[in-house]
């Protein structure tokens, strides 16, 4: 079947077996292999990407269901010679080891920063009626959908925390 995806701003038409997941469409048909397959069952988060700005597990999504959607993958955030702030922070803070879960971690983190700004609560948010602040515990809960077997969790959170702070001070400076 023919579907259209806009991936990292580029519109592409694909002729796919209906069984093709969004993840496999990227990896097998668009040569965008930055999005990783760790479990193929929504249990690890390595395949996290953004659909219309929201993070999902692309392994549990049929490409057909996302006909016409805007997809952002790790390749859309930055390049080796021009990394995004989060990507650079992961390098600086050693927020990875083997690197396989890393694109998913970064996509998840990018979404998380926006979610907190929009006031989304989490399981560890004390008062549901308040807007949450992104403490280390909040980050840990909100990033728990991204497994890292190398277990870089503390440094992943440090990297994200650094970007949270840097973005906040940029916003303050702008105000």
């Amino acid at each position: 079947m023919i579907i259209t995806l806009t991936v990292n701003g580029r519109r592409t038409e694909l002729d796919l077996d209906p069984r093709t997941t969004l993840l496999d469409a990227l990896r097998h048909h668009l040569a965008l292999t930055g999005t990783k397959k760790g479990c193929d069952h929504g249990q690890c988060g390595a395949c996290t990407l953004l659909v219309n700005g929201r993070r999902i597990n692309s392994c549990l999504a049929l490409a057909a269901s996302h006909d016409g959607d805007e997809i952002t993958t790790i390749e859309g955030l930055g390049k080796p010679e021009a990394m995004s702030d989060l990507q650079a922070a992961f390098v600086q803070h050693d927020g990875y080891q083997c690197g396989y879960c890393t694109p998913g971690q970064i996509m998840s983190a990018e979404a998380m920063l926006a979610e907190v700004a929009e006031g989304w609560p989490s399981y560890v948010t004390r008062a549901l009626d308040d807007d949450p602040t992104l403490t280390d515990e909040e980050m840990a809960e909100r990033m728990s959908g991204n497994l890292c077997r190398c277990s870089a969790y503390p440094r992943i959170r440090q990297a994200i925390g650094a970007v949270r702070d840097a973005r906040a001070s940029r916003t303050e400076a702008a105000e």
Partner: protein, 742 residues
């Protein structure tokens, strides 16, 4: 390589027969040991680092393995006809070179090829190849396999009829029974640990193609020189006809030490079909078709005098593996030399069971053996009333308690003392006395120890006249930091900025290294690179007519006496040297190991018994630190594996057929971010192990896990007074024994 061959070969072959001078400490660049960012980091964070499954070949087709659904018996038929007619299906293959399970680490030969015989649920029995992944997956699921079942196969180690207690592994020194009877304090206790999975985030994957009779395989492997031999043997071809690429490995932890079923299947199918074939294991297949860590049952006997000095130490263990596998979890490996005690007893019993293959998983031996030993030490501390740190310090032997060998660098005492001060150990309360809100809070400590090994390793370093350098070896970087530390060693030795150095790894055609595993990669391969760089320094020195030690190499310049040269002044073509390291006499003359101490603070819920780790500190003594950042990241990893083995991780085998029931990442519980507090890691400064290797560094990839779960188990006891002896410490192991608080 371009340029003319050197007139004289300055390659260095070296055997580690005696303590070595600290050459690296005399270098001037100041790059080694720093917290340098990983040079390949930009590739990883942008998704541009290619992992095995991501290599595309013209005409690539997809293979999917089919698993056995019986425990023991024979495959009697495979209904290929039904699936052959499905869209896109190209071939169905069975038997032939397909392997029963992966090769054990460093096996250097093919693993068992048993088809049509089946030995466990989940064993690969066939491969289906189709044009697309979706077609191959469905055809594999639709394939009907018929079996002749053999009933009554043992799946439970506790009741298995076939067991072995090798005499060679029994150590009986003095008289432990009498010593236990006469001890002022005695602890005789049993611990059990469940099977674990490596569960690397990247599933095993191989893309195979043949050109002019030579196999090229992009795989995810840790030890290429052994993997080439294993794959060649499985396929019946010469090693020279096999080339493996593993420049990026998405986690190994032992699971990718030996060639695994997907590589053999991909290579076989590619040869048969004359097309490139990709085989990627599904996550359940990773659990079933690759290695698990054996479950263990351990009996610890500790007897001491009135002052807590050990007089008796016994560590017996029971583990399992498939019939025919040589590997047995070396459970008590660290216990042999950590603590004293004249009367000692060790024995291991291996049960043959029809469960998926057991093999090396991060820190085989100490990862689980140290849980039992360190919790038993805590029991002894409780019995004697001696502080657990003090008890450990009183029992550090002068020399190896069994063979009398001297220790090389051993910072355990410092780790325990420094850690206690940093952690605030003096604020620890008696067991079951600190209730904060709904949580019992307590602290625990454990020693960390991991044997240290050096392996043969060769590397090639090339210095170019323009001041750039290339370092080549078949070494792998499985997340450990090989790219970083090898860059740093070259930079330090040759006086180069990291940006001027390229490190090429993960190609079996490059000089053969130790590979990654057993915590020996950094020191073995790092030493080979160091030796090759020494050769280059010698060659430069000879050009100047001085001794290599009289050269100062810094920031791309060579200084001798008061004269500074650029490399282009000294060489007009690339200068290449190989360095080869062999282990030698120091390995037999010294007891060489990495040491450390773990401190944990946990909360235990007073009603429902969940455990949350609140703080954790690891202090480690590992000889020279090659990169402060990657080394401490390795420690984080180990400590978090400790959290997993203490609290969450357990492979569950069906009691009747041995299958792995929770063969997925939803039910096999790796720790998630919320399970992990911010961790504190201290690497003791200025430590050097002169007997270990010429760069004075020891392994760190596994030390961090050794003992970590023990510290957590001990913290649970200190928090709520419940001694967990059956890990993981899930709520059901704790809440029935909690004190009443209402």
């Amino acid at each position: 390589m371009d340029g003319q061959p050197q007139s004289k070969d300055f390659s260095v072959k070296f055997t580690m027969d005696e303590a070595q001078p600290r050459v690296l400490d005399r270098m001037a660049q100041g790059l080694l040991g720093t917290a340098m960012d990983r040079p390949e980091g930009r590739m990883k964070v942008t998704g541009t680092a290619p992992y095995a499954a991501e290599y595309r070949r013209e005409g690539l087709v997809h293979g999917m393995l089919v698993r056995s659904t019986i425990t023991r018996g024979r495959v009697t038929g495979i209904d290929t006809e039904k699936v052959q007619s499905m869209d896109g299906v190209i071939a169905v293959m069975t038997g032939g070179p397909l392997v029963r399970n992966p090769a054990q680490g460093t096996a250097h030969e093919a693993p068992a090829q048993s088809l049509p015989e089946v030995f466990y649920v989940g064993q690969p029995v066939a491969l289906v190849v189709a044009e697309s992944f979706e077609q191959a997956r469905h055809a594999a699921q639709a394939l009907t396999v018929t079996y002749d079942r053999a009933d009554g196969a043992d799946v439970d180690p506790a009741t298995a009829s076939d067991t072995e207690t090798p005499e060679d592994d029994v150590l009986s020194q003095g008289d432990i029974d009498t010593a236990m009877k006469e001890a002022a304090f005695a602890v005789d206790t049993r611990y059990t640990t469940p099977p674990h999975s490596s569960a690397a985030m990247e599933p095993h994957a191989s893309v195979a193609s043949w050109t002019d009779g030579r196999l090229e395989l992009h795989g995810s492997y840790q030890m290429l020189r052994h993997n080439v031999a294993e794959l060649a043997d499985a396929l019946g071809v010469d090693e020279a006809d096999v080339r493996i690429h593993s420049p990026y490995v998405g986690g190994g932890f032992g699971a990718k030490l030996g060639i695994a079923p997907e590589a053999v299947a991909a290579a076989h199918a590619a040869r048969e079909l004359g097309r490139p074939v990709s085989v990627v294991l599904t996550r359940p297949q990773v659990f079933e078709m690759t290695m698990r860590r054996s479950e263990t049952t351990q009996r610890l006997r500790l007897g001491s005098d009135a002052e807590g000095r050990l007089t008796a130490l016994g560590h017996e263990d029971w583990v399992s593996n498939l019939p025919g596998e040589a590997f047995a979890e070396p459970t008590a490996q660290g216990t042999h030399f950590l603590y004293g005690g004249d009367n000692r007893y060790f024995a291991q019993t291996l049960a043959r069971v029809h469960r998926p293959c057991a093999g090396s998983v991060r820190a085989p031996g100490e990862a689980v053996g140290m849980i039992a030993l360190e919790c038993a030490m805590d029991e002894l501390a409780e019995a004697t009333g001696i502080d657990p740190i003090d008890l450990r310090l009183r029992n550090l032997p002068e020399t190896h308690p069994e063979n009398g060998l001297p220790y090389s660098e051993r910072g355990l005492g410092d780790c325990l003392r420094d850690g206690a001060a940093k952690f605030g150990w003096d604020t620890r309360k008696p067991a079951g006395t600190r209730l904060e809100g709904d949580w019992w809070v307590g602290m625990g400590v454990a020693s960390a120890v991991r044997v240290n090994a050096l392996m043969n390793s060769t590397a090639r370093v090339t210095l170019n006249p323009d001041g750039t350098a290339l370092c080549e070896t078949d070494m792998t970087d499985i997340g450990t930091g090989s790219y970083a530390i090898l860059t740093q060693i070259v930079g330090e030795m040759l006086g180069l900025d990291a940006s001027q150095i390229e490190v090429r790894l993960g190609d079996s055609d490059l000089p053969k290294s130790s590979g990654s595993g057993g915590s020996w990669g950094a020191q073995s391969c790092g030493s080979a690179v160091f030796l090759a760089a020494q050769g280059i320094r010698k060659a430069l020195a000879e050009k100047l007519g001085v001794a290599a030690d009289d050269l100062t190499l810094k920031d791309g310049t060579v200084t001798s006496g008061n004269v500074q040269h650029g490399f282009a002044d000294l060489i007009d073509s690339p200068l290449t040297c190989e360095g080869t390291l062999n282990p030698g006499d120091t390995a037999d003359a010294f007891s060489i190991a990495g040491y450390g101490a773990h401190f944990a603070e946990v909360g235990v819920h007073r009603d429902t018994g969940e455990v949350r780790v609140r703080r954790m500190l690891g202090v480690f003594s590992i000889g020279r630190v090659l990169n402060e950042k990657t080394a401490s990241s390795q420690c984080h990893g180990g400590m978090i594996w400790g959290i997993g083995s203490a609290l969450t991780e357990e492979i569950m085998h069906d009691p009747s057929d041995g299958r792995i029931v929770n063969h997925n990442l939803a039910e096999y519980h790796l720790p998630v971010s919320l399970d992990v507090p911010d961790l504190d890691v201290v690497l003791l400064e200025d430590t050097r192990d002169d007997e270990a290797n010429p760069i004075q560094a020891k392994g760190i990839g596994e030390l961090g896990i050794a003992g970590a779960a023990g510290a957590i188990g001990n913290a649970i006891y200190n928090a709520c007074g419940v001694r967990v002896r059956d890990f993981p410490a899930t709520p059901d192991k704790i809440f029935p024994h909690l004190p009443e608080t209402d």
